[in-house]
């Protein structure tokens, strides 16, 4: 069977499974559509959160990102997991107790203000739309790479599959497909990693293998890696960073942003009671960690594998002849993700970091520049071939990458469509709409959201590349503080919360726009986006944490100087703090 046929079989089978679930898990009410009926088991919910959270970027790109910068990229590992601690202790249980369907609904009720709810809806939509474009584009790319179809065509196929289960089943369909998608993606990620780890270290657990001995050299794996890459002029993998303030703020922004992202928060509304919301957070992180503990191992091992492929006899000996390159290099060259240019015409692949300090050695060895470049994504995509695994593992990676993209896209689309049908249509324009009418409105909103996301995925606007800045910045600077103060302070009132959200948002977006262009329009930035220009060395990606502090401070000061919230609101705050009487998530 050809590789194409195997990939088609795996992807086709996984899609049939998702569609089967869609038919089985149809939504009969708005409660089914928004919160999957509200009786999801905490472990099931934990698995679903895992799939909801881990996107095409986590699956395909994160290991490559870590491989490229080593210790510095730990920010992503800590930031995208540490947020769950905040979520599980500061938000999820109380929002579950509140027992409504959407994040803006809590903000609107708690701050007794339709305007506060509207600000929350706008923040939610901007953050989620930016995020979903990347998922749709990622699905298109995965399709075109593994199934030899045009990426726009791939995108449309992916959209049709999502359409099936999310329009029919809403959160109910999404929950069960996410569980299936998690299983596909984690198996796909783990199998090649286990074999690579066995190959290099003899340890079947990649996360442990990373810190054990490299069998061939007898050195610790990371020592060996550092030796090889520094010999060729690359930066030390485990070295400390100079700008620690920025690393700390970036990590904090990712953590607070993670906790404030609506598509993650609404998953906690699907469990039966408050204690289940607490347990769900722990289970979610267990299932996320299965991938996140493997990713740094894949990163370091795949990087070492690439180096030893090019320098089979060590870094002091001549690199490999181009004609002797292994099969996986040939295969990925076809896609353009690996490129070779023989600058000194010696028929060998010189791969090194052409820095000034390396120049004398390069000259002595007759090298005329780095000849080998690869796209970071191949660290995961080419993993099965690098480890000489059979074709079905490659098929699994194809299905896994698509599962990661589809599951996150569906979660985001539900957050967007429920904000439109529940917060805008029912909340603002037609409060008397019947449950049936609202369910129809929710389905139509979902359908429209999918069409828009598909279009934007095929024609990504400039801001689509700014997921980290925009989605995490907005969630950290506007949504998280408003939600947290709504639970932990009885004193913050409507004006305080709105002023805080707007201040956090304007501050954060302005700082981002100064460096990245106003509304990300190229050429409109006031300063070049380079570390010398950053205030105190704080990058625009790290500013969300400061934005959150601005939000808290403004909200407190404004609230203190205006009237305290009415008595029934203070009672509402009391009631979300105590688990008793949670009941099912319900509408009014």
């Amino acid at each position: 069977m050809s590789q194409f046929a195997i990939n088609l079989l795996f992807v086709g089978a996984s899609f049939l499974l998702y569609i089967g679930i869609a038919i089985w898990a149809k939504a009969g009410s708005t409660k089914d559509f928004y919160v999957a009926g509200g009786g999801i088991h905490p472990i099931t919910n934990g698995v679903a959160i895992g799939a909801d959270w881990m996107s095409a970027a986590s699956f395909i790109s994160m290991a490559g990102l870590i491989a490229a910068s080593g210790y510095g990229a730990s920010t992503f590992l800590m930031g995208w997991t540490g947020g769950y601690v905040l979520l599980a202790m500061l938000l999820a249980p109380y929002l579950r107790k509140f027992g409504k369907f959407t994040v803006p609904e809590f903000i609107g009720d708690r701050y007794y203000s339709d305007n506060a709810r509207l600000v929350a809806v706008i923040c939610l939509i901007v953050a989620s739309v930016t995020y979903v474009i990347g998922q749709m584009a990622g699905a298109g790319v995965a399709f075109s790479r593994f199934l030899e179809v045009d990426s726009t065509m791939g995108l449309i196929i992916a959209a049709i599959v999502i359409f099936f289960y999310s329009v029919m089943g809403g959160m109910k369909g999404i929950t069960y497909t996410q569980v299936a998608q998690y299983c596909v993606l984690i198996v796909a990620y783990t199998i090649p990693a286990v074999f690579i780890s066995l190959n290099l270290t003899g340890n079947p657990i990649p996360g442990l293998g990373m810190f054990s001995t490299h069998t061939e050299s007898g050195l610790p794996l990371l020592t060996k890696l550092n030796q090889v890459i520094t010999d060729l002029g690359f930066n030390n993998y485990t070295a400390d960073v100079d700008n620690k303030l920025n690393m700390i703020l970036f990590t904090l922004t990712l953590m607070i942003g993670t906790a404030g992202l609506p598509h993650v928060i609404i998953r906690f509304f699907t469990v039966r009671k408050v204690t289940d919301a607490r347990w769900s957070g722990g289970w979610a992180l267990v299932f996320i960690a299965l991938l996140y503990l493997t990713a740094p191992a894949v990163a370091s091992m795949a990087r070492l594998n690439i180096m030893t492929t090019i320098y089979p006899d060590g870094t002091d000996a001549a690199p490999i002849l181009y004609e002797d390159r292994p099969n996986w290099v040939k295969e990925w060259e076809v896609t353009g993700l690996i490129q070779f240019e023989d600058k000194n015409n010696d028929g060998r692949i010189q791969y090194y970091n052409p820095t000034e300090s390396f120049a004398p050695e390069a000259e002595a060895r007759g090298w005329e520049g780095n000849e080998f470049t690869y796209n970071r994504d191949i660290l995961v995509l080419a993993n099965p071939e690098i480890a000489n695994l059979p074709g079905w593992v490659i098929g699994l990676i194809a299905a896994g990458g698509l599962a990661a993209a589809l599951s996150t896209a569906a979660g985001l689309l539900l957050a967007i469509s429920s904000a439109i049908s529940h917060d805008l249509i029912k909340g603002r324009f037609n409060p008397n709409i019947s449950d049936k009418g609202e369910l129809l409105a929710a389905r139509i909103s979902m359908a429209v959201a999918i069409v828009v996301a598909t279009y934007l995925g095929a024609n990504p606007p400039g801001f689509a590349a700014q997921v980290v800045a925009l989605a995490f910045g907005i969630a950290a600077a506007s949504l998280f503080p408003a939600l947290m103060m709504g639970i932990f302070s009885k004193r913050v009132n409507n004006v305080g919360a709105i002023a805080g959200m707007l201040a956090g948002l304007v501050f954060t977006l302005s700082y981002i726009f100064v460096y990245k262009g106003w509304l990300f329009i190229p050429g409109t930035n006031n300063l070049a986006d380079t570390p010398e220009n950053w205030v105190l060395g704080i990058s625009p990606l790290s500013i969300g944490a400061i934005g959150a502090i601005v939000n808290f401070a403004v909200a407190f000061v404004v609230a203190r100087s205006t009237a305290e919230p009415p008595k029934e609101i203070q009672e509402l705050v009391e009631s979300v703090r105590y688990p008793r009487g949670a009941g099912a998530a319900q509408d009014h």
Binding site: M89, M210, L222, R278, G282, Y578
Partner: protein, 87 residues
């Protein structure tokens, strides 16, 4: 909760204390061991590198998991103790 306002207040204080303690650990492993204090821990080697690197790429994630389960377990106990659990 109006009938038990004294207990309600104590319950909330117990929750805040637990959250505070948990967040101190959360801070110490990630912002502390993995970043700020990494130079101080440089002498402790772990598999070819130092303890700070291990905390940055694995240790803090493992600690986060333990923290959330510990919080859920303790909080459920506190719920029962104050008679505010769900059933």
């Amino acid at each position: 909760m109006s009938g038990h306002s004294y207990d309600a207040e104590k319950y909330w204080k117990a929750n805040l204390r637990l959250i505070g303690g948990s967040l101190v650990v959360w801070f110490l492993v990630s912002y502390g061991a993995a970043m700020l204090f990494r130079p101080l821990l440089a002498g402790i080697s772990v598999g070819g590198t130092d303890l700070g690197f291990w905390f940055a790429q694995q240790g803090s994630i493992l600690t986060f998991i333990v923290l959330i389960f510990f919080y859920a377990w303790r909080m459920n106990k506190i719920d029962e103790q104050f008679g505010v659990s769900e059933e």
